[in-house]
Every structure is written in C-alpha cells, then in structure tokens.
C-alpha cells in the first residue's frame, strides 16, 4: 500500500516536473510546479516529517509560488520566439549529457550499494514538538542567523524593486 502511494505521488511529481519545463505558458509552468510541491509534501508526510510537509504547502506552494505567479501576471509576458534558449546550444547539450551520465552512475551505484537499514522511528518523530525542541536547543544559532538573512533579503528586495533609490 505504501509502495503504491509512493509510486502514485512520485510519478505525478515527475510528470509535473517534466511538463513544467516543456509547456509554453509561464502560468501553466508555475501551476505544474505547485502540483509537484503538493506531491513532495505527500512524500514528506509518508516519511514522517509532518511539520515539513505542512511547511512545504504553506511556505513553498503558498507564499513563494503566489509571489512567482504575481510577478508573472504583473509582467504579462508572452513567449514570442520559442521557449528554448538559442545561445551555445552545443554547450547546453554537453552539460545535459554529462549530468545525465552522472545521475545514471549514481542510480546504478545506489541500486547495488548497501544503504542503512531503516531505524524504527517513534510516533512523535517529525512532529511540531519534536522538530521545535531540536530547533530551539541544538540549532538555535542557525535559527537566529536565518532571521538576519530574511531581514537582509527584505531590505535587498525593497531596494532592488524600487524605481528610485
């Protein structure tokens, strides 16, 4: 049953990702990316990461993708000359080919190599309480630095998007 859900969500995620880079309209592309994020959120829930699954929907599919859709509609873009970049087509093909070979080698290695056996996780693993306890004790410094990063990002975005500084 679990395997069936995994294959359903995984194939839908792959389909959404593949369609996302092939469709012409940026809005369709953004909606397909949201579909992909929903599938990944389901996989996170299957893996017991409940907080991250909810955050994936709220932060990624909610906040970030709404911002992207907002910008797409604000700029009102139309693809006139075709979707594929024309510059350095040989370099692009070589890059994609090298990366494909790289991923194939990794997949082949993963198929045979010995991976860690799953440990029995407790029912509270990945809940808000469990993640919060670790986040506010062991990882408190990265958490605080993240707030400075977000402040810098807000200031940077305002300055960049303003018409006159």
């Amino acid at each position: 049953m679990e395997l069936l859900i995994f294959y359903g969500l995984g194939l839908l995620a792959l389909f959404a990702a593949a369609a996302m880079i092939m469709v012409r309209q940026p809005v369709t592309s953004a909606l397909l990316l949201i579909l992909n994020m929903f599938c990944l959120s389901g996989l996170y829930a299957m893996l017991g990461a409940h907080l991250i699954a909810i955050l994936q929907l709220l932060v990624y599919a909610g906040a970030i993708m709404v911002l992207v859709l907002f910008v797409i509609m604000l700029l009102n873009l139309r693809e006139k000359k075709g979707i594929v970049s024309k510059h350095q087509i040989a370099l692009q093909t070589a890059g994609v080919a090298v990366f494909g070979v790289f991923m194939a080698v990794i997949a082949a290695r993963l198929h045979t190599s010995q991976l860690p056996n799953p440990k029995a996780v407790t029912a509270s693993f990945g809940t808000v309480g469990a993640v919060g306890r670790v986040l506010f004790t062991d990882y408190i410094l990265p958490f605080e630095i993240a707030s400075i990063l977000l402040l810098a990002a807000i200031v940077g975005a305002v300055i960049l998007a303003k018409s006159k500084v």
């Binding site: 049953m1 990702a17 990944l40 996989l43 955050l55 990624y60 029995a120 807000i154």
Partner: protein
C-alpha cells in the same frame, strides 16, 4: 518502512536532473528561477528521506533552513527580475548579455 531508501534517492535525483535541464535550456528568467526551486525541492526530498531512515532530526532542520533561504531567494530573485524588466522590457536571458565579454 515499506519503500526502500533507494527509491526516494532516485526520484530525487531525477527531479534534480529535470531542474538542471530546465535551467540550461529555457530562456525565460522566471522559468529558470522555478527550475532552481525544483532543484531545491529535490534536495529537500533527499534530506528528509535520510532523516527519516537514519532516525536523525538534523535533516529536517536542514530542510527548514533550505526553505528559509528559498524564501529569501524568492524575494531577491523576483526583485531582480522586476528591475531587469523595468530597464530592458524583457526577461529573456538571451537578450540580457551586457556582461558578455
């Protein structure tokens, strides 16, 4: 857990590869940005899968941080795209070659 860890890692690798193909082939800057988000998501899936299979919460904290950075990146990246559109009236990366030697 019924699903082997390999399956999650291969799914994540393929999603990452699709993101790379999008970044190097598409010409619309916003779609390139969305492909970068797809790559970040693929890495998050790897982190969560390992976190779950090793019983270690560290991977989920890393995913949390990746999401924070993605939010910051969304704000700054889209602001750059808007500034680019305002000056050049295009977000086509083929037309933006001012820094090309």
């Amino acid at each position: 857990m019924e699903v082997p860890l390999n399956h999650y890692l291969i799914l994540s690798g393929v999603l990452f590869a699709i993101g790379v193909v999008g970044v190097v082939t598409r010409r619309n800057a916003i779609i390139i940005y969305m492909c970068i988000e797809l790559m970040l998501n693929a890495v998050n899936l790897t982190l969560i899968a390992f976190s779950s299979y090793l019983g270690d919460m560290g991977g989920q904290i890393f995913t949390f941080m990746v999401m924070t950075v993605a939010a910051a990146e969304a704000a700054v990246g889209l602001a750059i795209i808007i500034a680019l559109f305002r000056t050049r009236r295009t977000v086509d990366v083929d037309d933006v070659n001012l820094l090309k030697g």
